[in-house]
Each structure stands twice: as structure tokens, then as C-alpha cells.
Symmetry: C2
Subunit: 369 residues, 2 copies
């Protein structure tokens, strides 16, 4: 059967290996497996969220409240925006999908940094758009501006902090960049890890309300998958001027998030103490990763997220290393596919990190290549 020729060449996203597969493939006891590959919150989600969801399993038969009134009110008050400036998606991923389908048609282009979140490219390609890349490990805003002038893309993606590298632009630099972009170009500012960045350095903190007040062409993205510990519940949000939200809403399938996800997110937003504790513990454990890297001569990129990128010299092959760790039951993300001889490691709980350090130390000593 013939399908849209665009889809034949599509690449699909390569998710972190699930624990279930490692159990099956290597016969490792699931309790022994440490997954540090998908930047989940190792402390789970707030106990209040778990309680609320467990108490409401009876409601699984009911379609979600498609007005999402409860969660939207909570988000509106959290960010100081209006409900009509919000759109909720099955992960912020889905908002990227809406934005691509809304803006990209008839030979459109997106502009992004070379090494950034893979889904921008994937959704853009589904729409038949081409991808203009600004080379380099970090976002180079001057270069991006030059490419913007040359190619006139319909969407520019800025990932702050950037995934999978962990570095983060200063908020003021992002604003100065957007200032120079014409108002017909949608600028997506992906803040999936913003809570981590803002906690570490106020210069990185983006205020979505101010951002959309200043710029009519910005779509800010946030998620409950990271610091709120709800990666499995598929819920995130977009914040933009009403005009943009109204158009994205046209592409939103009804009931795009589950009944329990709406409850979980609403409850999660209330427990900001849980968020703060998560950030503190992450910071503490992050320092161990920095120390470990220094001790073992591993290159790092300063991280404003809950993961760290370990960069290796030619002698150590990141794919080989990731594979050997996997056989020990430690799942990390090899970044060879992004053109880096590096692995991305989620900052886990203390004992999980112990295990990673133990095995990594042994493997490095045995001179993996």
C-alpha cells in the first residue's frame, strides 16, 4: 500500500532502554537494574500525588474533563498567566507536534541548534519541513540569527536548558535574540528543565508570563515529566498569547491527556516543597558527578538539568561503554547518535549513583575502547 512519501524516510525517536527489555535481554533481576537514561525524577513524584491518584482509580472509566478547568486554573495562577494562554498536551512533546502541524506546510523550515532535543526534527520532518541546523554543541545565537536571516524559517526552537547536553543560555540572551526575530516566526522556548536551571542560577530563569507579554511570537513549553516526577503520565503545557493558543487548540485531539494525569498534575503543582527537595538532592548528587569526572579526567559540560554529559577522548568509545554498563544493569544514554563520543547520565539517587560510579570506574580502568 502506498503512503505519504514523507513518512517513508522518517526516523523515529530512540527512547532510553526500558527496564523490562534489560531484564529480558540480559536476565538481570529488575531490582538490580539502575535506569539513568531518561532523566526521570529518581525520587518519583510527590506522595500527595500518589495518594490522590490511588484514591481516584474508580474514575478511570470517565473521559477526562476536556475543558481541563482545574489544571488550567492551577497553572494560570502558578505562572501568572490567563487560562486562555495555556494549552495542555500529552507531554510538552505534543505541543511541539501541534506547533509543527500549525506552522509547517508547503516547503517550510525549522531552525535549531545542531545537538538538541530530537523531537523538533522528528515532528518537523513529519510535516515535510526541512531542518536548518546551527552547528556546535551549545546554542550559538549569533550563528542562529545569521541562519534565520538566510533561511527565513517558520519556527525556531530554543531548548533552555538544552537536552541532551545540559547547558543553558542566559534568559537575557534569549530575549535579546527574540527581539531581533520578526513576529511571523514562531519561537519555541522549551523549558522542560527550567526548574533545575532556575534553582542553580537565576540568570537562567525564564518567566513565561513576562516572555509572552513582551513577545507575541513565543511559545513557552513546560512539563510535568521532569522535576514533578510524572514522566509516565504524559502531561506538559504550552504558554503563549491567546491567538497562538487558539490556533494550536484546533489541532488538539479531544481528551489528549488522561483523567488521572490531570489529577496528578494538579496535585503535583501544589506540592512545591517536593520540588524544592528534589532540586536540592539533585544538586548535591550532581556535585558527586562533577567530582567523579574531575578525578577520572572525563570531560563534562556544565549542567543546569538533572543529567550530566560525560565526554570521552578517542581512547574510550561511548557506545561500547554504554553497552558494558548495560550488561551490568546500569542504563545510560549513549550520545553517539548525536555525533558526540559521550554518554548522558541522569542524576539518580545516592545508591544508584554509587552503582554507576563503581561500574564506570572499573570499566575505565579496564580501558574500554
Amino acid at each position: 500500500m502506498k503512503f505519504n512519501p514523507v513518512i517513508e524516510h522518517l526516523k523515529t525517536y530512540e527512547p532510553g532502554k526500558p527496564i523490562e527489555s534489560v531484564v529480558k535481554e540480559f536476565g538481570i533481576d529488575p531490582k538490580e537494574i539502575v535506569k539513568l537514561a531518561s532523566n526521570e525524577n529518581p525520587y518519583g513524584c510527590s506522595p500527595n500525588v500518589q495518594k490522590r491518584v490511588a484514591e481516584n482509580v474508580r474514575s478511570m472509566y470517565r473521559y477526562p474533563d476536556d475543558t481541563m478547568e482545574g489544571l488550567k486554573s492551577a497553572l494560570a495562577s502558578h505562572f501568572g498567566v490567563e487560562k486562555e494562554q495555556l494549552i495542555v498536551g500529552a507531554g510538552s512533546d505534543q505541543i511541539i507536534e501541534f506547533a509543527c502541524h500549525a506552522k509547517l506546510y508547503g516547503g517550510a523550515k525549522i531552525l535549531q541548534s545542531e545537538i538538541t532535543f530530537a523531537m523538533y526534527r522528528i515532528y518537523a520532518s513529519q510535516c515535510g519541513a526541512s531542518v536548518i541546523e546551527a552547528p556546535g554543541i551549545a546554542h550559538d545565537l549569533d550563528l542562529m540569527y545569521t541562519l534565520y536571516q538566510e533561511h527565513e524559517p517558520e519556527i525556531i526552537f530554543i531548548c533552555a536548558p538544552n537536552n541532551p547536553t545540559g547547558d543553558c543560555l542566559d534568559a537575557v540572551d534569549i530575549e535579546n535574540f527574540i527581539e531581533r526575530i520578526d513576529e511571523e516566526t514562531l519561537v519555541v522556548v522549551d523549558g522542560a528543565y527550567q526548574e533545575y536551571a532556575a534553582f542553580k542560577d537565576q540568570h537562567k530563569a525564564i518567566d513565561p508570563a513576562k516572555l509572552i507579554e513582551r513577545f507575541p511570537n513565543v511559545l513557552y513549553l513546560g512539563t510535568f515529566s521532569k522535576v514533578y516526577g510524572l514522566g509516565g503520565m504524559r502531561i506538559g503545557y504550552g504558554i503563549a498569547r491567546k491567538e497562538i493558543v487558539r490556533s494550536l487548540y484546533k489541532l488538539r485531539p479531544p481528551f489528549n491527556v488522561t483523567t488521572l494525569s490531570l489529577m496528578a498534575a494538579e496535585e503535583a503543582l501544589k506540592d512545591q516543597d517536593f520540588v524544592t527537595r528534589t532540586l536540592e538532592k539533585c544538586d548535591e548528587q550532581m556535585n558527586r558527578y562533577i567530582d567523579f569526572a574531575e578525578t577520572h579526567g572525563i570531560g563534562t559540560i556544565e549542567s543546569y538539568t538533572n543529567f550530566i554529559t560525560y565526554m570521552f577522548e578517542g581512547a574510550t568509545d561511548s557506545s561500547e561503554l554504554a553497552d558494558r554498563l548495560l550488561r551490568k544493569g546500569v542504563i545510560v544514554r549513549d550520545l553517539k547518535g548525536y555525533g558526540l563520543n559521550a554518554i548522558r547520565i541522569t542524576i539518580g539517587k545516592s545508591d544508584e549513583n554509587d552503582k554507576l560510579f563503581h561500574h564506570l570506574e572499573q570499566l575505565l580502568a579496564s580501558k574500554i575502547r
Copy 2:
């Protein structure tokens, strides 16, 4: 900001009014509200499912196993198909979306019955496709064949049983129809309510395994939203030859169903006793609706689902009736938007149906028009 001109004219799906809105709008105690508008299973889902989900709320922080190995194995064995012949979606809705995006490009067309599930048209329109309708309340397969020959659509949608009318084609008639369709045209057979139809009349029962064995161009859709009572969990599936599934998979976003939804669906499939009890109770209560209609001279369409369509003569206006019921706390679906002076009522639990009958009787006596 300019968006794809296609989306400016898009209509969005009108979901059944959520209980939350009725509480807010009319100040009715939520406990007093009876929602018979969205064809949810009034008995909820299996207690085993509730237990499994409640016990696993800890896992909400983990991204779902994107291989969906567990659920796919269970579905494969339930239907006697291979895992590679399955694709799981955020409701069977999402599979419709994939199918539209895969087949509809460059001035494409879909063919459907005039009054059928609204999402076929909505997703097709998002792709800029035009919609060819076979007029009539029920699917008229002869007419559809004539229109197929005339318009050469890329996708034909058959909803069996049909929503929002409840009637159902015989399986053999569907097969004889598909027999005459060329293999480049995708025929989507939407079996969202198949369990109800198969229980009531074996002639309506579709065997997806046999269907895809016989026809290389069929995509069968099923859901956990109806008889399995998991409407809020957004999970459904498509069954087709591997070649079709492989192409649809290219459009599947990673992690398109939640961690808890996967668990819930897997557990739900195990409890076929719950399914049988649901079907028996629905059948019993359906008979009360048929009796009520006969007593009050209301027209009905024979239903093979968990809902019934009450058709009114000119003297009674369905929109007015639905609105008056709403003010009494009884939510039903007005079908005026589908061009019918009718309401669609989900078969509820005995006491819910009592309430509907009570208020409807009063309203009809007062000659609502």
C-alpha cells in the same frame, strides 16, 4: 501570526459535557448528576484493574515501556494475531489520526457514511482532505460503493456498530464490500463497540485476525474506552497487516500512552468475566429503554452498543429536551449537530436510568418543543 490555512476552518470535536461543568453552571450537587452522554461503562472498570493501578502509582515517574511488550503480547493472544500486526494508541482515535496523516496528502479524499463518528472528518480535514459522504442514517454499502468508484477515496471508514446511531452492519456484508475495493484504498473498520454487537448478535461479530488475513488493506480499530471501562485512560489499538502497521508506527510519537494506561489495559484484558457481566447488565437495561420508547411513542434505532438513540417527531425538539434534562442534572447527547432530531443516551446503571426515565417522562408530558 499566520498558520496553515487548513486549520483556520477546522471544527473541533464537541465532547459530552463533563460533570464538572454542569456542577459549575447549574449549581447541582455532583452526586446528583447522571452522565449518560459519553458511552462510558457505568460499572467502571474491573476491580482488578483498579487494584493494579492503585498498587502501582509509584511508577508514575517512569516513562512507559515504549515497546509495549506486555500489552501487545496480551492483545496478540486475545485476538490471535502477531505483535507486529498491532499498534497501540491514545484511544483508537489516535490510530485514526495516524491513518489520516499516512494516507491523506495532496488533495486526498475519505469516504464515510453521513452520520458517523465525528473524528474521521476532523482528522481528515486537518490533513486538508475532502470528505465524501454517503447520505442516510445507516451505512448504505451499495451507495458507498458507487461513491467509491466515482471519487476514488484514499480511506473508507466503516463504523460497526455505528456511533452515534447504534445500528450495525452484518460482518458478512462488510466483507463483501471490502472484497470489491482495490487494495490501495485503506478500509478502516472501527469496532469500538464490537463487544456489545457480538454479544447481541453473532452476525455482527468481526474477527480482526480473519479480516486482515483476507484483506491486505484493512485497519481494524478497537478500544479499552467502552466495555473495558477505561475511557479516561486513553488507550485503544489498531490491527492490520505488518506493512500497514510499520507505516503507521512512523507517525506514532514516543510514549503515546501512559505507564498506568498500559498496566490498566493489560489487566482489563484478563478479566473477561467483568466484560461479560457488563454486557449482560447493559442488555438488561437496554430492554428498559426499548420499552420506555414504545410506551411513549419515541422512535428508536436498533442498537448494538451501550447507548440508544431516541428519535423525535417535529413536536419535540431534541436540543430543548437535552437542555431541560441537563438542568435536572441528567446529561445526554443532543444529535441536532448530526442533522437528527434525536438524543443519544448511554445505557446507565439501573438507578441512573430510573432518573432519566423519570425526568424524560415529565418533560414529554409537558410537551417540550
